[in-house]
Symmetry: C2
């Protein structure tokens, strides 16, 4: 363990031990982030598996006992259940405790969790932009956040020391941290992540609805482009259902913009507008090159 700094927290409680939560458990231990790591999950199977894996110091299925005495509680469950979890744990959070999360939608978390946070508890929502197509406690790994962004969206007036400790937590796990307004976060993520996933899920369904013979061929000849779309379509269904429902406005706006653009392309194809099509393809190429230049591709 090359990290010699003292732990940031005495007791870090993780609620939800899927891909992200179990990766935080591993990375927190590897980087000496907390003196004690407590894990809690609504699923008995997940709790048992986390105990077997030994990635937490203590597994505590009971939410209230899990958060008692913690100086940091991190919600790593799907965003659709955070309101319920927050209502249960709020009265039992210690004074000075930092409550944070890793949800992919931030206005909804501020809306659902913010109101129940007691006086003397610091609420610092965050979102690490990291993941794989796999899910569950076995899918996590300590290096998941290295070189990735983590967006921190503290409400106005949040205790600066609490924000600094959450920033330190993610930096020590290898992430680059940026602060952002929740509404802006949700728009940026709508176009960079939520819309691409919506499209990927949708095109899989479109292909699945084709007549049987064609469908079998869609799978066989997927390498010609379709395959790249299915990679991100393998993600966790409950997590994505909750993201779509909790970033409704921004996602529907981005889908509407995309649909207008796709219809304009359809019209150009129908009427043989070669210059329009070529221009759009060139823009795609330009964006791809920008990504390569800033080393995001």
């Amino acid at each position: 363990m090359p990290e010699t700094s003292p732990p940031i927290f005495q007791r870090l409680t993780l609620i939800g031990l899927g891909l992200i939560g179990s990766s935080v458990a591993r990375a927190a231990r590897e980087n000496g982030i907390a003196a004690e790591i407590v894990a809690s999950d609504a699923s008995e199977t997940v709790c048992a598996r986390v105990a077997e894996l030994g990635i937490a110091d203590r597994v505590e299925p009971d939410l209230i006992r899990a958060v008692e005495g913690a100086d940091c509680v991190m919600l790593c469950a799907p965003v659709g259940v955070l309101a319920d979890i927050a209502a249960v744990i709020a009265p039992h959070l210690a004074q000075g405790c930092i409550l944070t999360d890793v949800g992919s939608t931030k206005l909804s978390v501020v809306r659902d969790v913010g109101p129940v946070v007691p006086e003397g508890v610091h609420f610092v929502p965050a979102h690490p932009l990291a993941g794989t197509e796999f899910s569950g406690p076995d899918a996590g790994f300590a290096e998941l956040f290295q070189g990735r962004y983590c967006l921190v969206v503290p409400p106005a007036g949040t205790n600066a020391d609490a924000v600094a400790r959450i920033v330190a937590l993610w930096q020590r796990m290898g992430a680059t941290v940026e602060e952002m307004e929740p509404a802006h976060h949700d728009r940026v993520l709508a176009v960079t992540s939520h819309l691409p996933h919506l499209i990927a899920f949708t095109i899989c369904g479109t292909a699945d609805d084709l007549a049987d013979e064609t469908k079998e061929e869609v799978l066989r000849f997927a390498a010609s482009g379709f395959r790249d779309f299915t990679r991100i379509a393998a993600s966790d269904p409950v997590m994505w259902r909750d993201i779509f429902l909790n970033n409704r406005e921004a996602l529907l706006e981005m889908l509407a913009r995309f649909t207008e653009d796709a219809q304009a392309m359809a019209k150009a194809i129908r009427w043989g507008d070669a210059a329009y099509i070529e221009d759009k393809v060139l823009r795609g190429r330009k964006i791809r090159r920008s990504l390569i230049e800033i080393k995001q591709a």
Copy 2:
């Protein structure tokens, strides 16, 4: 050179030395497919570069001289120019010559090239499902077709020996060959390749149209999903313009199906239909798993 079979052709002429044509040149030589490889391209720069690379036995910018005496002529130019090329070369093709192509749309090739093919010349359209995001003669490589499919779509009544020789050519370069009807080919490719590319180009444009600050962030946070879409958006603009215009009916139908499905998803998100969304995400995951099972992912 492990291949000890005799050459399939005495003189193979390649017209268009981009990614595919230059890969065929390299693979044909490496696998002893032709006693002589002649290369022709409309671009002087490309001709000069092919000569420098030494991947053809002879570079012949003049189309007519390039095809004279060839027993196989393979059109590797964008599908939009194949009609013009075919009209120029048709009267100069040798008796018994096999005329083939590598175009991504097949009804259009049958429509554009078929009528000018002289008596005694065999027309065997084909389409190797292979490519990268790069283009030009430097981007090609001999292994491009290994383990990939090549779809051969001979019109009814085509000379069986000519078909067998084109099949042998692709097999010797490492491809798995399947025969298909042109109309069926165009529908399968519309959904596996052309629609995914149309969507990828379009979403790049949608992102590019966002206000400047968000756009910069779209690039920085692309790893959250957007990036996977841009990979296939870097392809050659003229090639894709021509594909879209030459597979209009099938592509517009698949786009219409996809748009209906995306609108149904939008409605489910607007009205909070959690079960519908979860079901669609599960289908995406199922399709991805099918690809993994048949080793196409």
